[in-house]
């Protein structure tokens, strides 16, 4: 069975609900969502206006779910959605949308546009109009277990390395541990220091934790491509792993979309509430800090600022914790303009960074982040999402900005003293 327009339309018909109907009837074409979208503000191309990205779905809604719309179609006043149209919209719905949600928080009539883009991707993917990059990523995640083809040996190798580097034993498949730590492939491959930081922090806080051999991958390319069937397969592994190991809390790592996929979409994908808690690592660190279990020493003295990953802050509700954590370790911390709730996206989220043909557009959109950084001129940039880090570093490299990017968890771990008696 292969993807087809008919399948895509059927999925969209399934996805359209009262909120989408209300939104599509409320839009007054005021263009303010464009002013909030970096793909429009940095290119000036009106086709990137967020609400326009939903045009095929809007027409389908009108023709299928409104009386006048159905009549109009019967008499040929409106044209049904075509496959060519969906193909044309692929660039708008994927390459030029990172699901950052800024349009949804500014729309004067309250349209949750990113909610609709996420649903539209269901139809697009079912109709076979998803970018190859994402298709590859979701195929590898389902077949191999990681969008970047990371298998357990690689995880084990990194565990061994971290054990040597940090001198801490990395637990694997420890039943009854309090925390189940997930890793994103990005961290396994590019930022092994994250696992080291976790090990150090957990030992410092005296918390039991474990990795899970069947479910080490946190990210969910199924959600990024916008296909709940595949996302369900992926997230189910984590749920099974967590429930098998009977952990109390699953920690979503320094990644934006992994958090959204597990924390907010997970229960809806598998159709029942979780029996365990899900927390982003930043939430866990804040909890430890509040419980007095996170005693850091020394302060970073250089000029720092923080990039809020969209899925963590605006889309996830975790905004103040990272500031409290930064206050613990940074003496010279400055907020970027529009930081926090209204922060601008790095340009690579929502699977966008996995789309090769979207590279040029992403670098164009990065100018918005550049202007934010230019306003603060930090010496180092701290964030809490591995994908943001790479997209930021590529952008900074492209614009010859010499600005190192570091993870919040690793930076905090550097300020945790080694317990006495260690070698």
């Amino acid at each position: 069975m292969s993807a087809s327009l008919e399948k895509g339309v059927r999925v969209l018909k399934e996805m359209i609900d009262a909120p989408i109907a209300s939104y599509l009837n409320s839009c007054v074409h005021c263009g303010i969502c464009a002013e909030a979208c970096l793909f429009y503000t940095e290119t000036g191309d009106p086709k990137y206006t967020p609400i326009h990205k939903l045009e095929p779905m809007r027409r389908l809604y009108e023709q299928e779910y409104t009386l006048l719309g159905r009549l109009a179609r019967m008499v040929g006043l409106t044209k049904p959605v075509t496959d060519a149209e969906l193909a044309e919209w692929q660039e708008l719905v994927y390459n030029s949308c990172t699901l950052c949600g800024r349009c949804s928080v500014v729309c004067p009539v309250g349209n949750d546009i990113v909610y609709m883009v996420r649903k539209m991707r269901e139809g697009m993917s079912a109709a076979g109009h998803a970018p190859d990059g994402l298709k590859g990523a979701v195929t590898r995640t389902v077949k191999i277990g990681s969008p970047m083809g990371v298998k357990l040996p690689a995880v084990k190798a990194q565990m061994k390395h971290v054990e040597a580097d940090y001198g801490i034993q990395i637990p694997l498949d420890q039943e009854g541990a309090e925390y189940l730590v997930m890793l994103s492939s990005m961290e396994i491959i590019n930022f092994p220091e994250y696992l080291g930081a976790i090990a150090k922090i957990m030992r410092h806080a005296g918390k039991t934790w474990t990795l899970c051999s069947e479910a080490f991958e946190a990210t969910n390319a199924g959600m990024q491509i916008g296909n709940s069937d595949l996302a369900r397969v992926i997230v189910k592994r984590i749920v099974d792993g967590a429930e098998k190991l009977k952990v109390k809390t699953v920690i979503s790592p320094e990644c934006g979309h992994a958090y959204t996929a597990l924390r907010w979409e997970g229960a809806n994908l598998i159709g029942r509430p979780f029996t365990f808690k899900v927390q982003h690592i930043v939430e866990v660190l804040e909890e430890l800090r509040l419980a007095g279990l996170l005693k850091t020493e020394g302060m970073e003295t250089d000029r720092l600022t923080f990039h809020d990953p969209c899925q963590l802050a605006r889309r996830g509700g975790v905004i103040q914790p990272q500031r409290n954590l930064m206050a613990m370790i940074a003496k010279d911390f400055h907020e970027m303009p529009d930081a926090g709730f209204m922060n601008w996206c790095c340009g690579g989220g929502g699977g966008a960074s996995a789309i090769e043909e979207g590279e040029e557009l992403r670098l164009e959109a990065f100018k918005r982040k550049k202007s934010q950084l230019d306003a603060v001129k930090p010496h180092r940039l701290v964030t809490a999402c591995a994908n943001c880090r790479i997209v930021l570093e590529e952008g900074l490299e492209h614009y010859q900005m010499n600005l190192p990017v570091v993870g919040l968890t690793e930076t905090i771990a550097e300020h945790i003293p080694d317990p006495v008696g260690n070698d």
């Binding site: 009837n25 005021c30 303010i32 429009y40 004067p108 009539v109 349209n111 949750d112 159709g271």
Partner: protein, 219 residues
Amino acid sequence: MDQLQFLTWVRGTGLNLTLAIFVLGVIWRLIEIYGLGRKQDLSAPRDVAGASGWHTIYRRSIPPPGMLKLSPVSYIGGYVFHVGLAVVVFLFAPHIALVASLLGPTWPGLPSQVVDFVSVVTMAAMVAVLADRITKPAKRFLSTFGDWFTWTLTFLPLLSGWLAVHHLLLPYTLMLALHILSVELLLIFLPFTKLFHAFTTFGSRWFNGAVNGHKGVPV
């Protein structure tokens, strides 16, 4: 049909027809839209004070940080003409008398001269917003026939009403009749065009607020 007959028709049968279509249209469309329902969110909510659908309904009237300077005409022009419309429609003596006669309650209005000034400001704001729609690339790109049509539908009652009150341009009988007719056209088309955002905005803001409020994000 002469002017007085035309006026009598719009004040009588025409008004009756309009209110019927309006009431029927609004109820039909509201059920048609919100009848689609939505799935319950099974994920564990994050309770944060001030993060709920109800909060968003009023809070979304305030421009989010940094947005006002990006689209000042939309915000300021939009505010002025919406508030202006509300004042002209609900605080002008003849309108209050009309609504009171139809629905019962009455309330004090503003002096006619004030309402007259407000209506001129409202019309100016609408022209500004129209100019913005023509010049701003994103807005122009989005604009369909519906936008220009609904702008006209909203502007004509204001203009004809102002001209009627001042007995300008056309004999009062005709101008008053045209004013009433323009309001009737506005009401008839309201449930079937983007003007229906007058009703669905609250539902949309509530959904937006609820979905994000579930995640503890006060939008």
